[in-house]
């Protein structure tokens, strides 16, 4: 039997001449589109404490934002300084009520972000952080609901998180309108 000790010299030489080649097209865009943005490390499960954390963030952000907005009168800041919009909720698979909430939140978020340039940077950062936390919670809830459509707990969580986001945006909207 031909074993690893009896490799034909010509074949061995051909193996030595093998070299790695780049793929003919760039595969990165296709890979990047498929990466799980939540660090890609954990399965798609809702961490229910996230709901509590998100609630706390809202409360802190709202109170901190209120205090800061009332305390400071700041010059307008260019809106380009605002963090990337988080108004990209996927609504295709939402129930009609949730889809309506998501659309309302998206519309209000666009309006709020246009006014965030007038807000104190610290308050703005706090608001952005809250929105990111809420969007993350919404995305997790949507994935969970897609995975098990009959899961009432996931459905309620999604609805309540959408409401929390809408409430936060309303609060911020009122505060920014008072300031402008």
């Amino acid at each position: 039997m031909d074993t690893e000790d009896a490799l034909d010299p010509a074949l061995g030489a051909a193996i030595d001449e093998l070299h790695d080649q780049q793929p003919e097209r760039d595969l990165w865009p296709g890979i990047a589109n498929r990466l799980d943005r939540r660090h890609g490390k954990t399965p798609l499960v809702i961490r229910w404490p996230t709901a509590l954390a998100a609630g706390l963030v809202i409360a802190i952000a709202t109170s901190a934002g209120t205090a800061l907005l009332m305390r400071h009168s700041v010059a307008p800041v260019a809106t380009t300084a605002v963090a990337p919009s988080t108004a990209t909720i996927i609504t295709a698979s939402f129930a009609p009520g949730d889809a309506a909430l998501a659309r309302a939140a998206n519309d209000l978020e666009l309006a709020v972000r246009n006014n965030l340039g007038h807000v104190d940077p610290e308050a703005r950062a706090s608001i952005n952080k809250s929105l990111i936390a809420l969007d993350s919670a919404i995305a997790q809830a949507a994935r969970r609901q897609n995975a098990s459509p009959g899961n009432e707990r996931a459905a309620k969580y999604l609805t309540s998180t959408l409401r929390k986001k809408l409430q936060l945006l309303r609060t911020v909207s009122e505060l920014t309108q008072q300031q402008s």
């Binding site: 039997m1 031909d2 074993t3 690893e4 490799l7 034909d8 010509a10 074949l11 051909a14 193996i15 001449e17 093998l18 070299h19 790695d20 080649q21 780049q22 793929p23 097209r25 595969l27 990165w28 296709g30 890979i31 990047a32 498929r34 990466l35 799980d36 943005r37 939540r38 660090h39 890609g40 490390k41 954990t42």
Partner: protein
């Protein structure tokens, strides 16, 4: 190897290790750097093991899987070694889901025996090794690539593919014989 070269190699490993940690924490730019550094190696491995048609798709699967499993990379080995092993697992698991390795290895026997006569009739008698490897039946091709190109032992191949080492050895022997004939044009 000269001292500066060693330093460069160590520096490259350090940077790679740092990028792996960053990627594990969700840094996509760091993961793209790892992709750029390793894509030719992984793509070539996949192309040889699974054939050129599926190479792009499987390579993408490997990097997506790597991103998802980065938390399990503890730095005990080089990132490239870890990624390479993951790549082999992905290639083998695609076929495994359809049929057991053992079942299709046995099916390859007939195809492997028939390969030389088909190749003798081929007009382009002499060919490069990559093209010749692509003409091997799937089971023999994987054993040959893992053993003779990637340096795995028969025991490692057998364990990974669910075979006994003797089957791996016989597949390698026949693959080498077929390749010699293809390369010689006989």
């Amino acid at each position: 190897m000269t001292l500066p070269a060693i330093r460069r190699d160590n520096a490259a490993v350090d940077i790679e290790s740092l990028d792996a940690k960053r990627a594990a924490a969700g840094d996509e730019a760091a993961f793209e750097r790892l992709y750029r550094r390793h894509v030719s190696r992984i793509h070539s491995l996949v192309r040889r093991m699974a054939g050129p048609d599926a190479a792009d798709d499987i390579t993408q699967d490997i990097f997506v899987r790597a991103w998802a499993k980065l938390a399990t990379f503890r730095g005990d080995s080089a990132f490239g070694t870890w990624l390479h092993r993951l790549g082999v697992n992905v290639v083998l698991s695609r076929r495994r889901s359809e049929k057991t390795e053992r079942a299709w290895i046995l099916e390859d026997e007939q195809a492997l025996l028939a390969a030389p006569s088909r190749l003798t009739a081929h007009p382009a008698a002499r060919m490069d090794l990559d093209a010749a490897i692509a003409r091997l039946p799937e089971g023999a091709r994987k054993v040959f690539v893992l053993h003779d190109v990637e340096g795995w032992t028969h025991e490692e191949i057998a364990e990974q593919m669910g075979l006994v080492p003797g089957t791996s050895k016989s597949q390698l022997s026949r693959a080498r014989a077929a390749l010699r004939r293809m390369l010689d044009g006989h």
